[in-house]
């Protein structure tokens, strides 16, 4: 499975001894993985969604954005198993005759891309600020931590909304539409860096007094080099766990913003946008336009959260 290869390659970056992958298969983490049916199910579901999203143009039965293939006469077709259903459209179609399951596949691609990109950006931002805060200390530390305190007392969604509103007010309309996805990634990342910064700062405070850091300082290495080449690898463990748990939260924030109508433009819908579109037809009885994207979102986030919980427990030596 690609996921195992993923772990194998991270091990390979640090030290490439032959058989790193085999050692992983015999290691504690994989052992814990094998013993949890819930985790195995969650990872299978997650992999299926990721593969479907990656190869969306080939996997999806229709292309929901190719206007030539859309037929308005097919609009509002219910799922294939109901009376008026059409076997071509497994989960039915929306108001413009778009195939719901294809829209979900493309939508989860958008949600995954934004969720992952925002998480990575928040991680880079948070880790850098946390390292600086912990290693340099003094006024810089006090300043960064005060900002973190203030930000932590406001919910992430509010901060993301504010940044999005700011971008909307300062950019011209057309420019904002083309940049919407990037603005969204930036807004979610800016709302999520605090967790990483606090964790990294805490572990950096411990690491900076250790001998290897002092040795590096004595031989005159640049502080930035010490931070990123020596301290960083030793504080990265907990960061990866936070990141896994944050992906789910980032996807929820993205879908909430898109649902509120301030996220991605309807031309490149994410799962949240699809739910928003379908919400308009809830009362006329076309429930499938909302319910299936909603279910897809829940399944995606749930499988990521189960994996994150498992990773946290598996990496926590106290629970072994």
């Amino acid at each position: 499975m690609p996921q195992e290869i993923g772990f194998g390659t991270t091990a390979g970056v640090q030290a490439p001894p032959p058989g790193a992958f085999r050692r992983f298969l015999q290691g504690d983490i994989f052992h814990a993985f094998k013993r949890s049916p819930l985790t195995i199910t969650a990872s299978l579901i997650f992999l299926t969604i990721v593969v479907a999203a990656l190869f969306a143009p080939w996997v999806a039965p229709h292309n929901p954005f190719d206007l030539r293939t859309l037929n308005l006469l097919d609009a509002f077709t219910p799922p294939s198993w109901s009376d008026r259903g059409n076997p071509t459209y497994l989960l039915g179609t929306d108001d413009q005759g778009r195939d719901v399951i294809s829209a979900i596949i493309f939508g989860s691609r958008m949600s995954l891309v934004i969720g992952l990109a925002a998480t990575v950006l928040a991680m880079i931002l948070g880790v850098t600020l946390g390292l600086l805060s912990g290693y340099v200390g003094g006024k810089l530390d006090a300043f960064i931590m005060r900002v973190a305190d203030v930000q932590l007392s406001f919910p992430a969604i509010l901060i993301a909304l504010l940044i999005d509103g700011l971008a909307r007010a300062s950019l011209p309309k057309e420019m904002h539409d083309t940049l919407a996805v990037y603005v969204l990634i930036l807004a979610i990342a800016a709302a999520g860096w605090v967790n990483y910064a606090r964790t990294v700062r805490g572990s950096t405070l411990v690491e900076r007094n250790k001998e290897y850091v002092q040795a590096a300082r004595v031989i005159g290495r640049h502080p930035l080099a010490i931070m990123f080449a020596h301290v960083l690898p030793n504080v990265l463990g907990p960061v990866l766990v936070i990141a896994t748990l944050q992906i789910g939260a980032a996807i929820i924030t993205e879908s909430s913003l898109s649902f509120l109508g301030v996220g991605v433009p309807p031309t490149q819908p994410s799962l949240g946008t699809l739910i928003r579109i379908g919400n308009d037809f809830l009362f006329s009885g076309e429930w499938w336009i909302t319910v299936f994207p909603g279910a897809a979102l829940v399944i995606l986030v749930l499988s990521i959260n189960v994996l994150g919980d498992w990773l946290r427990d598996a990496l926590n030596p106290r629970l072994r």
């Binding site: 406001f154 969604i157 909307r168 429930w287």
Partner: protein, 328 residues
């Protein structure tokens, strides 16, 4: 005690100044307020006159001082979208949001504490496991989806509850309330349940964890050794001690509930401040955004202050520490 309150008060004022500064920057640097307010055919002389009347020709710190002065008096200018004073708009919308948030908080406490106690006491029963798993699913469910599913079931399929708006309201002076009419109460049910879902799972998990912790302590073992009934041990001794952190978290959650009301208000078209704010974001209506930001900031600061003081009153250890540290 007075020193502690003063210190927290100063901290709160500092946070409010930061929030106010962000709001002020929104006002003055995002887009040009002059061109936003004047019609496009205005002449250069009109612009200069407008700049002077807005005080934009003055130095930066004086502008900020004026902004703070106006903000303290509740003057945030005129909504660009609706053309009415922002403060009036917010005051009109405030009761709807507060009633929704309070009801949601009450539901979360009234259901979260008993469920938490139950799952802690009957740890191995299948029902407790079921509740715990449900709460995990609940954390993975975005707030708006819960609302949509509730609308689908109770408004569309069963047709028993309304799905949007506030129903009929009664005006009590400046405050409009939906508590006094049947339609108002019915309209409140779905949004309040939706909004209470997340804090409910949080309180339930917190009560469960605290309860399990307390049940392991020596004084509980001693209470059992004294031959007290299970009921007395669980509710008189254990529960009382779990409630201190619960009060803190519940208090802090109230701010979160008010902020998350934005999403719930959008789903149910509930005419509160959140709906006003989200429309302001969509239309880049800066004065409304700035005012909402300040108001939410104020609510958060006040809640934090009250919770800190409650904590201080409830936990004697904090007081003892202060007295010892204070010296004279």
């Amino acid at each position: 005690m007075i020193a502690f309150v003063l210190q927290r008060l100063l901290q709160g004022i500092a946070v409010m100044l930061v929030v106010g500064f962000i709001a002020f920057s929104l006002f003055n640097f995002v887009g040009d307020p002059v061109s936003l307010m004047l019609p496009p055919e205005a002449t250069q002389a009109d612009r200069e006159a407008m700049r002077q009347s807005l005080g934009l020709d003055k130095p930066f710190y004086k502008q900020f001082a004026t902004f703070v002065e106006n903000a303290v008096q509740g003057n945030f200018g005129i909504s660009l979208r609706l053309g009415r004073p922002v403060s009036t708009l917010l005051v009109e919308r405030l009761p709807a949001t507060l009633e929704l948030a309070m009801t949601a908080a009450l539901i979360a406490l009234a259901a979260g504490i008993p469920i938490g106690v139950y799952t802690a006491l009957r740890r191995d029963s299948w029902f407790a496991r079921f509740l715990l798993t449900t709460s995990l699913v609940g954390v993975s469910l975005p707030n708006f989806l819960i609302g949509i599913f509730l609308i689908l079931i109770f408004a569309v399929w069963l047709g028993v509850l309304p799905s949007f708006g506030r129903g009929d309201t009664v005006a009590l002076g400046a405050w409009t309330t939906g508590f006094l009419t049947t339609t108002g109460l019915k309209a409140l049910i779905l949004p309040a349940v939706t909004l209470s879902f997340f804090p409910l799972t949080l309180i339930m998990r917190l009560v469960r964890a605290e309860m399990l912790e307390v049940l392991r302590t020596d004084y509980i073992k001693f209470a059992r050794a004294r031959g007290l009934s299970d009921r007395a041990v669980h509710f008189r001794h254990a529960l009382k001690n779990t409630l201190v952190p619960v009060i803190t978290i519940a208090g802090l959650q109230l701010g979160g509930i008010i902020a998350f009301a934005i999403i719930t208000e959008q789903v149910f078209q509930w005419p509160g401040m959140g709906l006003l704010f989200i429309q302001a974001v969509q239309f880049a209506d800066i004065p409304v955004m700035a005012a909402y930001l300040c108001l939410i900031g104020l609510i958060f600061v006040v809640i934090n202050l009250v919770v800190d003081m409650l904590y201080y009153l409830v936990d004697p250890r904090l007081r003892a520490e202060r007295a010892a540290g204070g010296g004279h």
